[in-house]
């Protein structure tokens, strides 16, 4: 792939082209391939997995830089792990959590810090109220919820204003919201938040480790599952192939991409590349709405689909891994969980390997804190993290072996995390465009899931749903809306 001169265009033909080799795209492609369809998957990066990214640090530790947990009822994910022989193990939760607030340190047991018992009771009652409201919002079509327009005209923050009486409860719930959505409650449509919570079994379920969304992890990392799907597809997955154009007619799609060498940065438009043209009968776009909106479509997408892409921005999260020679906090009866309502680093988990051969704490800086601290850089974020860890776990926390961060908003082929959110008004006005095919173009990605939206499991089910749509379309059957 060296050389200055333009390289000859590479042309490929297939039945179905899938854009994005994350969990959703790979699940879609695998389902299609197993159904006998000729499929080709393109991904901009030199790796598969999308928002699941298992990496080895400079010091040789394996970390999950992105999505990493599996919990009860995530059946698509569990089935895939079993099929590929990837073992899971429980998140460490034995002992007490630490609440940090304005320089004070309190220990607690359970879901919510209890240093202010009345505030904690207010928070628990509020979460129950919120979850019961969420269960009234249909996950297939939240825009059909009773009072959808009223709910979509409010933010989750305004719901907190009217349903929580205690400032400390508000602080704690805000930590949970930022950890779950990567944004503060003030940015979230209440209707969208209720839909999302329902899709994941409620905020109580999403905030929990044992019995909830963070219950178990994958031994060796979550990206193995994506790799396992890609291995089955073999050379039907092309990496280093950022797609730029999508031309579509009633029954044909022509996708234009740049094929860059494995030593070149796919995000660099000046990198030496070979033009790639893929002609297919159908396409599955298995990416977040934001990334879908960045491709050049001919003809242009219908207004409401493009508007939807404009109005479902990504959350913002920096995931920081702090590695120690051992999980020493466990010796003090601590489970590694910190809740720090007034700190930029809102929450942590014990992320040590199953055999505890070293210790790892993973923390999240999310939402406005993530954006505010972007220009401050990794050293400042590291200092914030270590200061909180020292306050929580003592002076030993000051001297980690390694600190590694993943700042997702700066990832050119993700642009935020963990998930796309919806601001007020978008779902009721544009929601049906989320999954509605545009001619031969079908939409996948965890944001289109009706169960576990925003999670690895939702990504898988969305890919399978899009693949089924395509199979019906290829047989000439009408592809109705959901």
């Amino acid at each position: 792939m060296e050389g200055e001169q333009a390289m000859a265009e590479l042309e490929r033909e297939c039945e179905v082209v899938v854009i994005g080799a994350g969990y959703s795209g790979l699940a879609a492609a695998r389902h299609l391939a197993r159904s006998g369809e000729d499929v080709l998957v393109l991904d901009a990066r030199h790796r598969v997995g999308g928002r699941s990214f298992t990496d080895v640090t400079g010091a040789g530790f394996t970390i999950d830089r992105g999505g990493q947990w599996i919990g009860p009822t995530q059946d698509h994910l569990a089935r895939l792990a079993t099929e590929l022989g990837v073992a899971t193990f429980p998140t460490y939760t034995t002992g007490q959590g630490v609440e940090l607030r304005d320089g004070t340190r309190d220990l607690y047991v359970g879901l919510i810090p209890t240093s202010d018992p009345h505030g904690a009771a207010d928070g628990i009652a509020g979460m129950l109220d919120l979850d019961l409201a969420a269960f009234d919002v249909p996950t297939e079509a939240p825009w059909d919820a009773p009072d959808a327009a009223t709910l979509d005209a409010q933010t989750l923050a305004s719901w907190f204003d009217t349903h929580l009486s205690s400032a400390s409860a508000r602080d704690i719930l805000e930590v949970a919201v930022k950890a779950v959505f990567g944004t503060g409650s003030g940015e979230l449509s209440l209707l969208f938040a209720l839909f999302y919570l329902h899709a994941g079994g409620g905020l109580t379920n999403l905030a929990r480790s044992t019995g909830g969304a963070q219950e178990r992890r994958f031994a060796g990392g979550s990206q193995q599952l994506a790799q396992g799907m890609a291995d089955e597809l073999g050379d039907r997955v092309m990496l280093g192939a950022p797609v730029e154009t999508v031309a579509h007619g009633p029954d044909e799609v022509v996708v234009g991409a740049r094929l860059v060498g494995s030593d070149a940065d796919p995000a660099d438009p000046s990198a030496a590349h070979r033009p790639l043209k893929v002609r297919a009968r159908r396409a599955i776009l298995a990416m977040s709405p934001v990334l879908c909106g960045r491709l050049a479509y001919t003809p242009a997408l219908p207004g409401r689909r493009d508007q939807l892409c404009q109005r479902m921005p990504m959350g913002a999260v920096t995931k920081i891994h702090v590695i120690y020679d051992s999980p020493f906090w466990r010796d003090d009866g601590l489970n590694g969980q910190i809740v720090a309502p007034r700190s930029a680093m809102g929450a942590t988990f014990d992320n040590s390997p199953e055999d505890a051969s070293h210790g790892e704490i993973v923390g999240f800086i999310a939402g406005d804190d993530c954006r505010r601290l972007e220009s401050a850089g990794p050293e400042v974020r590291r200092e914030i993290m270590l200061a909180d860890l020292e306050l929580a776990f003592g002076p030993r926390a000051r001297t980690p072996m390694e600190v590694v961060e993943q700042h997702w908003p700066a990832e050119p082929f993700t642009r935020g995390g963990p998930v796309a959110i919806s601001s007020p008004g978008a779902l009721t006005a544009l929601g049906p465009a989320l999954r509605e095919p545009v001619g031969p173009l079908h939409w996948a990605g965890t944001e289109t899931a009706t169960a576990w939206c925003g999670y690895l499991d939702g990504a898988l089910s969305s890919g399978l749903r899009a693949a089924d749509e395509v199979l019906r379309a290829l047989k000439g059957e009408p592809v109705g809306l959901d």
Binding site: A121, I124, A125, F135
Partner: protein, 119 residues
């Protein structure tokens, strides 16, 4: 092991406090349920009803079809009723288990925590 008398006394105390707590009674709105308590260290079971946002007296034995079954030691139940035991700790360790629909379990988990923290 707690005696039946001790357990009934502790429950009566817990019930009085809970029924007088407006935050808690609000959480019981629209949630009329039958809850069975099964003890792991005695042969005595108990039944509690939630009716009209109030907790009933504790009946001896298992009455009616339960919506939720709470299983644990009589000692832990006593401590929980006296407010000396954080129920979350026992749920997490599995020493007290809750069986029922997801929503009913979620509700009783929240209610027992609010009773612990706020009464």
């Amino acid at each position: 092991m707690a005696s039946t008398e001790e357990l009934l006394e502790a429950y009566a105390e817990w019930r009085t406090r809970s029924n007088a707590n407006p935050r808690l009674t609000k959480m019981l709105k629209g949630w009329d349920r039958v809850i069975h308590f099964t003890t792991t260290d005695t042969v005595q079971g108990y039944t509690m009803r939630v009716e009209g946002q109030q907790l009933s007296e504790l009946a001896l034995g298992h009455e009616g079809q339960p919506d939720v079954v709470v299983t644990g030691s009589s000692e832990d139940f006593c401590d929980m009723y006296w407010g000396d035991l954080n129920p979350s700790e026992k749920y997490m360790s599995g020493e007290i288990t809750l069986a029922g629909s997801q929503q009913d379990v979620m509700r009783i988990d929240a209610i027992s925590m609010v009773a612990f923290l706020d009464t």
